[in-house]
């Protein structure tokens, strides 16, 4: 084959490869375009409420009293749902955090292979159960149970915390397990060699060296809990006031959005988008926190 022939064969291949490459590049950029569009549209829909109702009446007010017939004159303070989101998330982490991290330690340090496999499978299954089903079980099993035990209606922060605690287990356990698995085997051997017990080794050697990864696991669990919607909406009660106990009704950002969207128009609807914007900002803070934690690890290494 002469040189020119070879070039003639190679050239179309090169051209089509250029097209393929650019097409795949565009596909990859849909993630960037996607997040920009999400931020843009949620922010844009938030503007009417901020204009018509005012920043302070939204971000510094605890009064939620929409006016359906004349939306611009309603009260759309988001402090109650914001407090509800933070309280339910905190409760979820308090209940689910130790369970999830403990399970991860069990899986990496203690579990016999078959038991470990069973637990891993179980956690994979738990991750696949739809959130509306957690909400349904919360509604028909957990809420009546809490109602009997606490002599209240059963709805509220406590019910939401239990549900969230269970729902964050797969996220937190999976990432914590990965973090614990990266601890070098020599650390463990050295600790055992010095006569430390298994728990001393876990507590003094393994947990400290996997600290950043465990922190990332918990932060992602928090992110999951903040954004959880259907399960929480079904058990929190969706009331307009601050909770005065663990078993009094209140609402979260996500539950407020879902509960009120149907009947909302104008500034009322826009105020719900503001709550979505707050959720979006919280998600971005979560990402930045994770980057901060992992960057420190990279530097240290």
């Amino acid at each position: 084959m002469t040189r020119r022939d070879a070039a003639a064969v190679a050239k179309p291949a090169l051209n089509s490869e250029w097209i393929v490459r650019k097409t795949l590049f565009v596909f990859a950029m849909t993630t960037v375009l996607g997040i920009i569009l999400v931020i843009f549209f949620v922010a844009r829909e938030s503007i009417p409420a901020l204009r018509q109702v005012g920043w302070s009446n939204i971000f510094l007010s605890a009064t939620w009293n929409p006016n359906v017939s004349n939306p611009a004159t309603g009260h759309y303070g988001l402090l109650v749902p914001l407090a509800g989101t933070l309280a339910a998330t905190l409760g979820g982490i308090i209940i689910g955090g130790p369970l999830a991290i403990g399970t991860a330690i069990f899986l990496t340090q203690i579990a016999p292979p078959r038991t470990g496999k069973l637990v891993v499978r179980g956690i994979e299954l738990l991750a696949g159960i739809p959130s509306v089903i957690f909400g349904w079980i919360g509604l028909v099993v957990l809420v009546p149970m809490l109602a009997r035990v606490t002599n209240t209606q059963g709805y509220g922060i406590l019910a939401a915390s239990f549900i969230l605690g269970i729902m964050i287990i797969p996220t937190v356990t999976t990432i914590a397990k990965d973090a614990l698995e990266t601890v070098p085997e020599e650390y463990k051997q050295a600790s055992f060699g010095m006569g430390a017990t298994r728990w001393q080794t876990i507590y003094k050697v393994i947990l400290p060296s996997a600290k950043e990864g465990l922190l990332v696991a918990l932060i992602l669990g928090i992110g999951r809990a903040i954004g959880e919607t259907m399960a929480v909406q079904l058990v929190i009660g969706n009331a307009r006031q601050f909770p005065n106990s663990l078993t009094s009704v209140t609402s979260t950002l996500t539950s407020r959005i879902v509960t009120d969207m149907g009947e909302s128009t104008g500034a009322f609807r826009s105020a719900l988008f503001v709550q979505g914007l707050v959720l979006l900002i919280m998600a971005m803070v979560i990402i930045l926190l994770i980057r901060l934690v992992t960057r420190k690890t990279v530097k240290a290494a």
């Binding site: 291949a13 090169l14 490869e17 393929v20 097409t23 795949l24 596909f27 990859a28 950029m29 849909t30 993630t31 375009l33 996607g34 997040i35 569009l37 999400v38 549209f41 949620v42 829909e45 130790p98 369970l99 999830a100 069990f106 203690i110 038991t115 179980g122 994979e124 299954l125 738990l126 696949g128 159960i129 739809p130 959130s131 509306v132 089903i133 909400g135 349904w136 079980i137 028909v140 099993v141 269970i166 298994r198 728990w199 001393q200 507590y203 992110g223 903040i226 954004g227 919607t229 909406q233 079904l234 996500t254 959005i257 879902v258 969207m261 959720l279 979006l280 998600a283 971005m284 990402i287």
Partner: protein, 299 residues
């Protein structure tokens, strides 16, 4: 002398406390893991006990939904969920796998890949209800689609894109470099190598990721409450017509439905969803298992 006598005694005491602490910790860690398993077991058990009798009633699974009277079925919801899954997968697989090929095969570590990864991480962290708001603002209102199959599918495609991309990229990166070198060495172009050598080897991994995505699409409700109808007596007849998927309809049944047998419908829908998701998990595991067995043969 007293001091010398004292040291061994104290160290023995310390050793005993350490041993006790070790036993206690072991028991506690076992208990925590078993609590996780017990919670999962009782959830699945409860759903199946309550729902199996309902879900295997042909009048329920093949019946028409009722808005007011008792005795409604869920066939249109099932069909809507299947159509929604198909449409979402048709949109998401080419884009997700294509993006993964770009990240794994073409782009090195650059500012662009860092940007793409940041975009994917962000999308993966944004709560699904925010995707619902976005879908409402863009597809339902700005594009004028109204709540319909396409609006739901586009919203879910964006929601699940990072997961499809990540699992596909992992599958591509797991293909040994020697495969690529051999193909390039035989004179194949980069794209030919990817199409004929790398992609076929990554298909099982990509498929497993895809099946898990189907599970998430079937279970998603928060991103669909504003982008698709919550209740409809008919399955969608076109891409832009309504139709209610099972998971969002389950939420509607629990909150707004006025049929006297809402409880029974909820039980049946929950069981139908869980059975579908369990089956998908089994298929994914079977494929992963077969893939591993084959890899073992090659290696």
């Amino acid at each position: 002398m007293m001091g010398e006598m004292h040291v061994p005694a104290r160290s023995r005491a310390r050793k005993t406390t350490a041993k006790t602490a070790d036993t206690v910790a072991t028991v506690v860690l076992w208990a925590l893991a078993l609590v996780c398993l017990a919670v999962l077991g009782s959830i699945i058990g409860y759903i199946l006990v309550k729902g199996l009798a309902v879900v295997f009633d042909p009048k329920f699974i093949l019946g028409k939904p009722q808005a007011i009277n008792a005795g409604g079925g869920i066939l249109p919801f099932l069909l809507s969920s299947i159509y929604l899954t198909l449409l979402t997968m048709v949109i998401i697989m080419p884009i997700g796998v294509g993006a993964a090929i770009y990240m794994a095969e073409f782009a090195g570590e650059s500012r662009i890949t860092r940007l793409v990864r940041f975009g994917a991480d962000s999308l993966a962290t944004v709560p699904s209800i925010v995707f619902g708001l976005f879908g409402l603002a863009l597809f339902v209102v700005a594009f004028g689609m109204g709540p319909c199959l396409m609006a739901g599918a586009l919203t879910l495609a964006l929601l699940n894109l990072p997961a499809v991309m990540r699992t596909s990229e992992e599958a591509l990166r797991a293909v040994p470099a020697s495969y690529r070198e051999a193909s390039l060495g035989l004179g194949a172009s980069r794209w030919q190598t990817i199409r004929k050598v790398v992609l076929p080897s990554a298909v099982p991994g990509i498929t497993t990721g895809g099946i898990l995505t189907i599970g998430r699409i079937l279970g998603e409700s928060a991103a669909l409450v504003f982008t698709m109808p919550l209740f409809a007596t008919k399955a969608p007849t076109s891409l832009f017509s309504g139709g209610a998927a099972i998971a969002p309809n389950l939420w509607y049944t629990l909150t707004e439905a006025i049929t006297p047998d809402a409880q029974r419908i909820a039980q049946g829908e929950a069981a139908a969803l869980v059975i579908l998701i369990l089956a998908l998990n089994l298929v994914a595991r079977f494929l992963a298992h077969r893939y591993q067995a084959r890899q073992g043969m090659v290696g």
